[in-house]
């Protein structure tokens, strides 16, 4: 049987290095976002400026926008991953609550 070859390892290393380089480039060039969009079941339920402090109370989640940052303040989902994600402010960043199908997105 053809086992793992040297070229496989080189390929894997190259891809991981490329991914790491991309990650750093994205991190350096990420711009602060301006707009917050909250979606529930793929429908936009809130859309406003990040500089606009606000609290959005949904059925199962509470989204807070404060000091140019957005975060999930509380949620009734089991895993609490959305709450643990923390605060987001850069464009493209998201907080996702998969069980309740709620997404906070910065644009």
């Amino acid at each position: 049987m053809k086992k793992l070859k040297k070229a496989d390892i080189i390929l894997a290393m190259c891809l991981i290095i490329a991914a790491f380089a991309l990650f750093i480039t994205f991190y350096l060039f990420k711009t602060s976002g301006k707009k917050v969009i909250v979606r529930q079941n793929n429908k936009t339920v809130y859309s406003g400026l990040l500089s606009n402090d606000n609290q959005i109370n949904l059925k199962h989640n509470t989204v807070v926008i404060k000091d140019n940052k957005a975060y999930m303040k509380c949620a009734d989902c089991k895993n609490q991953i959305c709450v643990k994600t923390g605060k987001i402010s850069k464009s493209g960043e998201t907080v996702v609550c998969l069980p309740n199908k709620v997404i906070i997105e910065i644009e």
């Binding site: 496989d8 390929l11 891809l15 490329a18 991309l22």
Partner: protein, 171 residues
Amino acid sequence: MSSKQSDNRNRVTAVCIYALFCCACLIFGYVESVIPTTLIAPGVKLGLSNSVAILLLINKDIKGAFAVNTARILLSALLFGSPFSLLFSLTAGVISIIVSALSFKIKALSPIGVSIIGAVTHNIVQIIIACFVVSLGCVYYLPILVVSGVVTGGAIGFLAMLLFEKLKKIL
């Protein structure tokens, strides 16, 4: 037995084996839907079904790999998915199998390397589609999806090699 009869019999056997592989892929798809890998980042998947495609490619059955791969994507979309998810899975699935089949021509690579190329291609294509239909912000998932493609692709390639050793008698 005349050669025509034996030819027919071979074709029936082949159809049965492909159908079995399709079923196995659907089960793999269900197993994956239970494991919450998408929590790492949207689009992160084990790609267990891909082991079947790689297995057929190891057996130099490019047509079979293409047929089983396309059939299982259409079937799982029909059973569990939506037209929206089909757009992602079919485009990414077809492109990644073409790239995998081509990279099998590279003699220096083992099936593990080929599987890595296939998985990474699959993930990159999905991100490109997501950039068009969801939002450009999806591009930020590219690094994590490339890394996950390397890890899962490698594991799936290894699995496919083990399966080939076990199954080569019936193929």
